[in-house]
Symmetry: C2
Amino acid sequence: MRFGVIGTNWITEELIQAGHTVEGFSLQAVCSRTLERAKEFAAKFAAPFFYTNPAEMAASGQIDAVYIASPNCFHAEQAILCMSLGLHVLCEKPLASNADEVEAMLAAAKKHDVLLMEAVKSTLVPNFFTIQDHLPKLGKIRRFIASNCQYSSRYDAYRAGEVLRAFDPAYSSGALMDIGIYCLYPAIVLFGKPEQVKAEGVVLASGVDGEGSILLKYEEMDAILSFSKITTSYQPAEIQGEDATMVIDKINHLTRIEIRYRDGRIEDVTRPQTPKAMHYEIREFIRLASAGARESATNSHAASRLTMEVMDEARRQIGVVFPADLRRGSKHPETGKNEQNREAKRDENV
Amino acid sequence: MRFGVIGTNWITEELIQAGHTVEGFSLQAVCSRTLERAKEFAAKFAAPFFYTNPAEMAASGQIDAVYIASPNCFHAEQAILCMSLGLHVLCEKPLASNADEVEAMLAAAKKHDVLLMEAVKSTLVPNFFTIQDHLPKLGKIRRFIASNCQYSSRYDAYRAGEVLRAFDPAYSSGALMDIGIYCLYPAIVLFGKPEQVKAEGVVLASGVDGEGSILLKYEEMDAILSFSKITTSYQPAEIQGEDATMVIDKINHLTRIEIRYRDGRIEDVTRPQTPKAMHYEIREFIRLASAGARESATNSHAASRLTMEVMDEARRQIGVVFPADLRRGSKHPETGKNEQNREAKRDENV
């Protein structure tokens, strides 16, 4: 499958390196904001083509699928553009800025009959399936608790007075969007739609959440999710059942999974997996596309939709508003975005 | 200082054993529901006097102070009775069933000019002061997260159909009251009154919370507290600052405290402390009484009041109501309880 990539950050490098370990993956084109960067990046990874305009790359006929790793605020527009040209889309998490954008993307995927999958790597690795397989051993499940708190090097810049993209609401950034989703997404995949969402957090002067916490209420259990880009946590995740507790070393990596029973017995149920975790999402994506499937059973459209609905509600309670949320006056039929704003942003949208 | 104890459970045994390591502690009297138990317990710990009626023990002239470890629903009434007779009161956590009862207790302490202290052992051990001493090293504090989840052997009985006191709302029990307070109390002592409380939990058929979770919102941080008597957690507590994170092994024992800096350096700031943690609360209590003080600076009246106000609000959101909450029709001037109900309960109140 011939891939084009939009965005040339470290995450794209990881995607490409993992892609080279998956049968059927072929990097054909690279799209970056500047010609120099596009050219350099394409050369580094032996991609034959490079672009500065996503629309041109999408229309080139050189690719079958696109991997989108641009800032969150551009995901919806770029994904819909690519899908409208018949490309399958693997889009980095979070899928978009808000639930309206996600709906527009899901509608576009349906309309243009293409595969759309959110690139949450952690729910497609072998150890996520280990979790699912062994859940019955825990008895009645009463709590999921997961924390993803990593002090960001960009917060040093922030404290020094420079607001980089990771802390700029114009890019639909912040702790919840960037890393909190690694706590939330598996909760949604494992336990479905919560009955209630309660959230708190610290809104930085720039307007994004530096850190936050979410309680999800389910009928017979609850979930606690915490995330931060301004502090670091060392806590493992846990799924607490009445008969045993599953301890997960890192919710975004899942490299060690053990079950601790009440009698003190510890069962290590870890499965071997490659450290190139994106291997599994690429393999899943190519497998689905080859089979003519339009969504993943795990990273499903429903999971992406529910996740973003919870994130919208959490942001509302924490008090984080993105410019993307306000572009709802004269809606573009597919993106839900105001046309004028879209044009204004085009020159910086990779 | 001559002590009487009300209640003869394992916690009273721990109190007495720890008391014997504190200068000035002398066990004089024991009060239990049945004469056999009172006699047996007094003999075991070489107490010269034993009673089945707290009022008789309080009026005996044999004791200067009382330690109350009866079920939560009796704390307020027994404490107020003892204080009205001039006794100092060390009362097990939680101080009472609800904030109304706490207010009545604090008013009684003031009126009768005696020492009243909530027996939260964990905030009076050397390692709690270690936490306070080293907090400035963490930089701006952004999150406190603590979990106290211990599957209760009494939940085995509950699952088998027998509702023991630990799961009976008539005794003002449940996970929050019994062990969740070990997460909440230090949060209140360290960070004061939260701006907002958000809570969820699982209410068992008996009417108490089997488990629950609380978010506390502060101006520049938040706190996450989780508790359970129907599952077990293995998570350490954390205080996350922008410059470092303090990791606390067990929030109710505080036996190991380390600071993890962003550069990877780990500083162990643990202080040696006796495993008989109640040693410190007894020492504090005797020291305060000897000095003529009427409350502890750490386990203060304000801390007890705030803690109970948060617990009331959390219970309201989780949906737990105690019979003690409903006794507010014809209020006793000190206890806030309905006289009739108090009489009805007197014969089983130890």
